[in-house]
Symmetry: D3
Subunit: 184 residues, 6 copies
Amino acid sequence: MTNFEVPEIDALPEDIQERIEKETEDAGFTPNVFRAMAYKPSHFWSFFDYHDALVEDSALEREEIEMIVVTVSGANDCLYCVVAHGALCRVYAEDPQLADQLATNHRAADLGPNHRAMLDFAVKLTNSPGSVTREDLLVLRNNGFSEEAIWDIASVVAFYNLSNRLAIVADMRPNEEFYSIGRE
Amino acid sequence: MTNFEVPEIDALPEDIQERIEKETEDAGFTPNVFRAMAYKPSHFWSFFDYHDALVEDSALEREEIEMIVVTVSGANDCLYCVVAHGALCRVYAEDPQLADQLATNHRAADLGPNHRAMLDFAVKLTNSPGSVTREDLLVLRNNGFSEEAIWDIASVVAFYNLSNRLAIVADMRPNEEFYSIGRE
Amino acid sequence: MTNFEVPEIDALPEDIQERIEKETEDAGFTPNVFRAMAYKPSHFWSFFDYHDALVEDSALEREEIEMIVVTVSGANDCLYCVVAHGALCRVYAEDPQLADQLATNHRAADLGPNHRAMLDFAVKLTNSPGSVTREDLLVLRNNGFSEEAIWDIASVVAFYNLSNRLAIVADMRPNEEFYSIGRE
Amino acid sequence: MTNFEVPEIDALPEDIQERIEKETEDAGFTPNVFRAMAYKPSHFWSFFDYHDALVEDSALEREEIEMIVVTVSGANDCLYCVVAHGALCRVYAEDPQLADQLATNHRAADLGPNHRAMLDFAVKLTNSPGSVTREDLLVLRNNGFSEEAIWDIASVVAFYNLSNRLAIVADMRPNEEFYSIGRE
Amino acid sequence: MTNFEVPEIDALPEDIQERIEKETEDAGFTPNVFRAMAYKPSHFWSFFDYHDALVEDSALEREEIEMIVVTVSGANDCLYCVVAHGALCRVYAEDPQLADQLATNHRAADLGPNHRAMLDFAVKLTNSPGSVTREDLLVLRNNGFSEEAIWDIASVVAFYNLSNRLAIVADMRPNEEFYSIGRE
Amino acid sequence: MTNFEVPEIDALPEDIQERIEKETEDAGFTPNVFRAMAYKPSHFWSFFDYHDALVEDSALEREEIEMIVVTVSGANDCLYCVVAHGALCRVYAEDPQLADQLATNHRAADLGPNHRAMLDFAVKLTNSPGSVTREDLLVLRNNGFSEEAIWDIASVVAFYNLSNRLAIVADMRPNEEFYSIGRE
């Protein structure tokens, strides 16, 4: 499941066991990222606390967050995140096709102009961060995003530029279930 | 100092005020990243908790961590991180020239073969994450890095791929002090 | 469905109508590429005759052909071909996950060394044709591919470098059905 | 002449022999692409039928077609197509310098604004197909190209993205004659 | 100090010895580039005569020349030129921070719009010379640069694209002194 | 002929007039680079003195120098240098086809392994100077090039990275004669 050896679940610290149980109940299976990140408990909590802050304290809709995640993960060629968040994107956007469109080419997706601007920004910040300037933030403002929403877009892009790299190095494998969730 | 408006320090949550005070005492000035990240308190703690875990629970020497940070930040053209962590790199490596070498071109730095391999990996994972494979991890193993050290290298690379993007979007400015610390 | 206006099916030349009927019977729906290519009947037949030659007179298994198509189309960010041939790949390889793996990153797919070499070659020939040399063909020979099989691999890569560009310019939309075929 | 072994001409299928004879009469020598493509007769006809459709049923002038071919082949670093179609470009455009200009850098060629737009599009569709959008087609419309002409431009670009890759893999060598035709 | 063996100073031609003495007096140490270029005396003079012409006969301020040099050398990852001309940039611009900003990312430096345009041009001409057109010169004109100043900007960019490549191949090492000059 | 206004020949400094007369006698026409570089007399002499040193004091054959120039200029998309030095390459190598091969793709040219290594190095030093290391020089040594020859290869590559950029910015036009010299 990963390039790094993870102990059995019942050998993990209790607070990690509890989080994994909760996720397993919610999803009906244990998403592999929770097992993989348990390789190093201190990093486990840093990773998921950041993730939780991004989805719980946000000026963005959850469906927008997942749209960004799938687009960034497609740009970075990260299998785990494309497939796992592809499932979340289908569920939150209630759209069985959007995730495949975004993972392949957000320019070919059926998007309004503000979401197109949001994802153009996500791809630019992913592919050539050094070329991003204040002008790019202005384009987002002109597409109706608040200052806080821009911060949140940038934070989600940034976090999945972290997450994609960890998932690739660990060679995390998407659970079978993620491939089909939300396609009906 | 940044593209996002941050409240005055005494209007910030108390725990953030305390952390900022502590950093200010340690450094003799308030590194701008602490003010900038206070834009959104929930993200402040996610960011610094992850940072703290990476430096406190690591199979790497602190000087190795800072070498990776400067190299990655140079590859991503991030001014704040090159200058601020350039100072830390000079201090921890006790070398006034190493940071400028790594920020410009790690291939031109005075490195042994294992640190050269470590930074080749850091640049590859930064510039083309999708091309990283198990063979790249083997090169690190053959250069003497343990499984845990490889995880830690990947985690530092990943975190500064997050951090560089936030600093660029926020247009964080390095404090004047960072430019000269550790150069004597 | 496309950026170019296509006449109603019953206004198309009879031989094209017949082909479209046959495809519709086979698939249970009319794949949009057949409508889109009817924009110019002379090109319609050139396109599909070439396609037919590639799948009917080949040293490759059909499943190998579809693996190449999905990988090339992923590298070229072509939505129509990723989704439509993703369905064919799932059906011919009898594997519900392979297409998503290849479209995202063939290095993360579950492949034996010969298929890995085949797709490494496909990506190199797609992304930087001018850097391909006789040495690359030797790698394929050393992975067990015959001279004819190498010609066929190159021809499939070449044809989908044509096909991807036409589909993108026409903005061909994948039929809804393709997204879910072969996922069970 | 090529990386793939081609039978003697009189061992080839009769229809292929006839086509080769006709080409030889027209040119005064046998262009190597006809021998090379005879490696696999079914592909021979697919390839040349598509080629013939593109030049015989087109809203473009033949000289415009050859301008696109040389520009695309230069971008893809394909020796056979740059040299062979360079000759055709000199002949059809009645300009001994245009082909070398386009093969090196179409921006340095002596072009009117509509041909400049046509070739900007050709290079973009060649180098980064996934970034082409409807806006790019609008630029062509605003430069006077009809819907059909845009389809034909895209089709020529697409076909030579196929052709360049086959010629490179086969290592097709341009006939000596092509280097000097049309230079006087 | 370099990949090429240089004779002792007193074995060098007299005119080169004199130039080296003069430079040593001016700087208080012998900048390594003078020793390194003495590998081949005919090239030594070609190199420094060109350099001298660029700084002595120029429509640009010396501080602008050094800003261009540092920016180009940062784009080309050339350690010697970033560090040695970083020192000159700090001295001539009387700014202890500008060089580190330009070497990392000129977009993050504190610049007026004309210097920003000058350095945007320098980076474009360095990274993708073939895409530079007359329109790029017009942008400089509209930012107040004279025809001669534009020639001079281009010449400095061009010369350091030479210089960076020689310094990298020779593996020239910046003198220790350069790292700290002008930082106070 | 160029983007910069050059005075009439008889208004130029006498030494420049003499050089231009000499070149005109040698070639039978005035190569445009001599007129174009006369825009700024001090730069004229720097440029041609460096050029002269490179061809007069070299461990390389003149034909090897011109092979490097054409290859580098092709990689940089520089029309003037590809066409003018293409003529010189045909003349010095006594080969009517070599220049077109090198300008398009040196990997498709008919070269022995040492010239292939020489041009691989030239392209790498042109396209990504920062990735060149001592290992690349070793490959040249192992292909029979002396230390001085390696310096000379690097110097020619470096000088034409200067020259190409000046010619592109000036929009220098190749003289009609260059297109056909040496093709018989």
